[in-house]
Symmetry: C2
Subunit: 229 residues, 2 copies
């Protein structure tokens, strides 16, 4: 099969999403270099479009652009990691606070369904799904809290968190592994503002405390395998 270059055009948002997922779900290790031409071939897109997508990813902090050198999956430092969690606490606590006041039955239903889905992923040891769903849960809270801006900001922070965990995680496979404890508690007590807030605070602090601030594991895999169609 030598005609692999002309598989499908692949739109810009697709490319972005694909890379975003691959990084956030830790299929690409921090530090990995992303060559424009390489991606250009994988997605059958011109370098210019790849370049634009990389620009966006860089703005989200997922990759780092070094002038004349290229794009690398970001390797957040300890300080940056702590900063990400600080920002997440800031944003998510406020969101939970607001959500507790405004949430309705439909919203609670959605959260419940999601927790159920997450539980299933854990049961099947579906790590990739579990990671994605865990982030999605936090994001859902943001969306239900009706702040487009904070939702967007949080989306980036969650993906960065994923990166951070890829670098500094000690043992847990998943930032919400005790899903039925943390997530459920947060959910069930969602009608009492103060408690929900405290739970969210504790939840994020818990994740942060699990981190191992030492190793710099680097393991580059073949991008074609990960991103290819």
């Amino acid at each position: 099969m030598d005609m692999e270059a002309g598989k499908r055009p692949a739109t810009d948002p697709e490319i972005y999403q694909r890379l975003w997922n691959a990084i956030a779900e830790r299929q690409i290790s921090p530090g990995t270099r992303l060559k424009e031409e390489q991606l250009s071939e994988i997605f059958s897109a011109s370098r210019a479009r790849i370049r634009q997508v990389l620009q966006n990813l860089a703005h989200d902090g997922l990759i780092t652009l070094v002038p004349n050198r290229g794009a690398f999956v970001s390797k957040p430092s300890i300080e940056e990691a702590r900063d990400v969690f600080f920002a997440r606490r800031t944003i998510e606590e406020r969101l939970v606070e607001r959500l507790c006041v405004t949430i309705d039955a439909a919203g609670i239903g959605k959260l419940r369904d999601h927790v159920e889905e997450e539980r299933k992923a854990h049961a099947h040891a579906d790590v990739a799904s579990a990671i994605r769903l865990s982030g999605a849960f936090h994001l859902m809270i943001a969306e239900l809290a009706q702040s487009q801006i904070l939702t967007d900001l949080l989306r980036d922070l969650i993906s960065r968190t994923s990166l951070i965990m890829a670098m500094y995680q000690q043992k847990d496979v998943h930032n919400c592994r005790p899903g039925r404890t943390q997530c459920d508690r947060r959910l069930h007590r969602c009608l009492d503002a103060k408690q929900a807030l405290a739970v969210m605070h504790h939840h994020l602090a818990h994740i942060e405390n699990q981190l191992d601030l030492e190793t710099d594991r680097v393991a580059t895999h073949d991008l074609e395998d990960i991103l290819g169609f």
Copy 2:
């Protein structure tokens, strides 16, 4: 003078900053269309680079990119406006909270100097400077609070605030006009966390309440005059 096209190359960050300032300082009205070729001539840069800069500005929410139509200075809706203030309260209250704990003499000195500068601008009725300095003050708080991420986020939010005020402002020329009251109080009581937090909350709420949620004034001026060298 027909050789106006070859004035100077103008680097990417310069272009970005120039446009950012022009929009944030309200020299360009919301809704104004920014044509690539037009900017390309003004800055003596190729369209490709202009395009990249526009991409970044769009990511910051300062301009809106409509596919196949071009870039327009954003016209935030009432809902978006409220959301911006919600996000600012979220971020800035937390920053002030932290700053109160960590600030040192040098930091206080910086803030004091800045307030003084701001006072001068007001005294000279230097509106452009006043707007810029007011934003810079809030930003300085963020920087002193040592959170790179929240600082970056706040920078965008402040510029968007400027846009919002350009659209919905009733009377005041400036979001911190009673500079010697609000800003100073916030500064002087900076050693007591609870109070400073309350002051910041009140300050932002005050700005938000000054808005006029009705008119959609559109006044497009000549970009060449505003941006030209």
